[in-house]
Assembly symmetry: C2
Amino acid sequence: MAGDSVVILDQRALPHREEYLVCRSVDDVADAIRTLAVRGAPVLGITAAFGMALAATQSTAPSAPALLKELERVGRTLKGTRPTAVNIPWAVDRMTEVGRARSSPATAPERIREEMIAEALRIEREDRDACDAMGALGAELVPEGANVLTHCNTGMLCTAGIGTALGVVVAAHRAGKRPHVWVDETRPVLQGARLTAWELMRLGIPMTLISDGAAASLMAAGKVALVVVGADRIAANGDVANKVGTYSLAVLAGHHGVPFYVVAPISTVDLATPTGADISIEERDPSEVTTPLGVRIAPEGVSVANPAFDITPASYVTAIITERGVIGRPCESALRETLTARRSA
Amino acid sequence: MAGDSVVILDQRALPHREEYLVCRSVDDVADAIRTLAVRGAPVLGITAAFGMALAATQSTAPSAPALLKELERVGRTLKGTRPTAVNIPWAVDRMTEVGRARSSPATAPERIREEMIAEALRIEREDRDACDAMGALGAELVPEGANVLTHCNTGMLCTAGIGTALGVVVAAHRAGKRPHVWVDETRPVLQGARLTAWELMRLGIPMTLISDGAAASLMAAGKVALVVVGADRIAANGDVANKVGTYSLAVLAGHHGVPFYVVAPISTVDLATPTGADISIEERDPSEVTTPLGVRIAPEGVSVANPAFDITPASYVTAIITERGVIGRPCESALRETLTARRSA
């Protein structure tokens, strides 16, 4: 957040150009989220938080209750941008709560604005710290010289820190474990080819880009030591919603005896969603499949299914790596314990 | 073959433009194969056969033995174009054999030229008939109103007839079974998005294009009744080399209890190759992954692995559908029996 705007690195232009998008209103922020200028579960939460702070800053509401009403409306707009990642409603609710706690008519609206900015900055800092913690815990699970396969982008572009799944690789690299990364290109939006490859090359971490369909034979050839992915929402029972293609990797990893790790901050865990079947899967525009980067690859008028995510049942997940610990054999009681134990501590 | 040239529908321009490539020499034919202007195992065999016939037609060799020498050299060139599909060496050997059988110094070279053209036309006709036979046998295995998932392109573009795996769909459609096809886009060369979608739309067969990574969740949701794929080479033990991503589908199909059928003419079975491990997997240019249809999707200088094929062990294959019958639980004795039984009949 810079003055009265939120500045976002436009991920759609990567890896070819580093362009920044200046969002001067909450509608700009919502558009940036909808069009994937900004994407990745944790940074979506951070962006939504700054969107709320921006709305508070720009509001001319004369009283705290009036400001709160505005914020609730803004929150609904932000929640409506994308349905699957829980980090958006999580951040909106947390920000709204800050406003609500101070919404007595006696409070000056200015006071709430300050608190909102402070809370957004806190969410950002917590995410950076969570990345470091997940990285440290995850790196212990990475063998020396391991080939790590990953899907989509889960690095610094989609967090405030070193990343979730990619943060584990970064931490292992910094710990001298010399990992090599197989990067799934991740159709249709190509976050692997465009973003993960770009990040790893900048970091000097050895990597090889592959088509998504090549992962299985690498596993069969014993060339994958572990799979690490992020998450957009983790249900109470441990089922994981993540980028389409993740479930495929989970089945393949299980079949080949390869550990399959989900790396996500606890803000991604949604105890209010009982199972993966209760998670809404976003169906995105067919043009993502038919016209990647503006080039048409399929006949005009073709029918397309373009689910952006899929569900990996908890039983396929070797462990969920959170900033509060590694949850082996994820289940509701283990998740609840992790979420509540430290909260009260 | 038209006069002294071989005319090929340039598959690289599809689905946007229907362009024909006129190959005036064997080098032109070899280039068309190498650059994927023509692709797909059966039609590669047919193209190689016509390449041999073209060489015979254009030869100025004064005697039958001299012509045979030339043909052997041409055959080596054609065999060197692409290593995985066995149909190229199969067709080259069959054509060379025709020349060899008549290579006594007493035979007029002209006689051999005629025989070569006749043999190439015979190979083409046999392939068309084989497609019809595979289609009829395969269609019986397609339930009424089935969702059929397929990978790559296995239709009329890569055979002389209705296709191999796609031919089964076409036959089921013509039999009134109302199939619907999930078309894997098939990265990196996008044969599904560009070619299979185009064919099915022209045929009026209902289809939906998907990213390769979406297949698994469709299976989990019970939306795939069977998988049909082609083959580039089938080893003596029943292991199948086919487009990269095929093995992934085979594992997923097995995991979800979905039948997995390989549809291929017996010319694809190579008894001289004991197992899948003995099949050479072509590693193609990284630009296929980084620059689909001329648009760069990954950073400059990125490392890429681009195996064009993978191996599906026989144990994952529900049945191989050939023009001579359906081979359930493929194994060496069953394959040998199918290949030899009718040959002597």
